[in-house]
């Protein structure tokens, strides 16, 4: 006899084996582990990593002042703050828009790789890293919202005007894909014995 429980409504069943069935409380399919969770999460993380490149290269917003149009990428923004001597603001933008999204992606990639490669890292630490990544996930949307509010507020036609840039779409996709990847990943497979985690 084995125990299996519905991830959705948390009802526990006693069954003969791990074949999937429908939960009679909430109608969701009950499986021992989320189906193909590692493969899907890994695919999404890699997609997000590639999208991170255009998010850095292209301008996040286009500022036109007195008819002069100027795109500003995240990196350019940081450099301009540094050249003005605002080290603190430059540091904050660098962490919030570049380092944290990158840490999230590399952290997830690292956890996925430790499932295949043996490391001395404790499972407890892995789970802590994972839940940290999951909780900070949605806070990367700040960049997108700031562009949206700035674009909506600064509208003086020719004199001073802010528009969104191409990187906004890529950056939003990076955030969304990272979040879906973190949601889709079933942390229980970290604790499973090797080879056993194939359903």
């Amino acid at each position: 006899m084995i125990l299996v429980s519905c991830k959705n409504c948390h009802k526990v069943y006693e069954k003969e084996d791990y074949t999937s069935f429908k939960c009679n409380k909430c109608n969701h399919i009950v499986r021992r582990r989320v189906k193909n969770s590692l493969q899907i999460s890994l695919a999404l993380v890699l997609t997000a990593l590639f999208l991170f490149i255009p998010a850095m290269i292209y301008p996040m917003m286009e500022v036109s002042q007195l008819g002069v149009e100027e795109g500003s990428t995240i990196i350019e923004g940081i450099i301009s703050f540094l050249s003005h001597g605002d080290y603190f603001i430059a540091f904050v933008i660098l962490t919030a828009s570049v380092i944290i999204p990158l840490i999230k992606l590399l952290g997830l990639l690292f956890i996925f790789s430790t499932l295949i490669i043996n490391t001395r890292l404790k499972n407890k630490t892995k789970i802590k890293i994972f839940y940290f990544i999951e909780t900070i996930g949605k806070w990367s949307m700040i960049d997108i919202y700031v562009v949206a509010i700035l674009a909506s507020i600064v509208q003086l036609d020719e004199i001073f005007n802010i528009k969104g840039g191409i990187a906004a779409t890529s950056f939003a996709l990076v955030v969304v894909f990272t979040m879906i990847a973190a949601h889709r990943f079933d942390t229980r497979i970290i604790w499973d014995e090797p080879r056993e985690n194939r359903e």
Binding site: H10, N27, I142, V146, A148, A172, V176
Partner: protein
């Protein structure tokens, strides 16, 4: 069967003791296991208040500034609309969903759950209510939006000194509180029973 819960962080089945404690810790991975959440009618009142505040919120501007004698302002709706007009369809729809649609529907789902509990007929199936609640809860980022308003304020203040928060921003603070409380005092598992 009712005394066993699974830790969804590591997959260990834990037998719970008959204690009044609401939270226990998983012995293997140390994560908190929640098996009884707080559920009360207060959630309904908070959800209704939140919805009403949300309507008010859309009337007043969040940030205003005056530049060369022109008054510029930004509302919740305009920040979505402007990107839509500039052909950023994906980003604008994402913003629309995460800061307008999802929070509204979250409150509506809570209200519906309470109405259906005291009704004989169930027009919306339990599963739809249950799933949509989880979906709107994970994809509603209204609290992130309020932080980004503050960040925008700081950024604009460096360029234009007349920038200030408007009534909408303060209504939004109250809204966030109502929204948070309605979710905290609500347990979606009650619709399944």
């Amino acid at each position: 069967m009712n005394n066993i819960i699974e830790c969804y962080h590591c997959g260990l089945f834990v037998k719970k003791e008959d204690s009044l404690k609401q939270k226990i810790k998983c012995p293997r991975c140390g994560s908190k296991l929640k098996y009884k959440s707080f559920h009360s009618l207060d959630s309904l009142y908070y959800a209704i208040t939140a919805l009403l505040l949300f309507i008010l919120l859309n009337i007043y501007p969040l940030i205003t500034l005056s530049l060369n004698g022109t008054e510029l302002k930004s509302t919740l709706f305009s920040s979505f609309l402007i990107l839509f007009e500039q052909d950023f369809i994906f980003v604008s729809l994402l913003i629309f969903f995460t800061i307008i649609l999802a929070p509204i529907l979250n409150s509506i789902v809570i209200i519906f759950a309470f109405i259906q509990n005291s009704m004989q007929r169930k027009p919306i199936s339990k599963r739809i209510l249950f799933d949509s609640f989880h979906f709107f809860k994970t994809w509603g980022f209204i609290e992130v939006f309020i932080v980004s308003i503050i960040v925008t304020y700081i950024k604009l203040l460096g360029m234009i000194s007349t920038t200030r928060f408007d009534i909408g921003f303060y209504i939004m603070l109250a809204y966030i509180f109502m929204f948070y409380m309605s979710n905290k005092k609500f347990d979606i598992k009650s619709v399944l029973e």
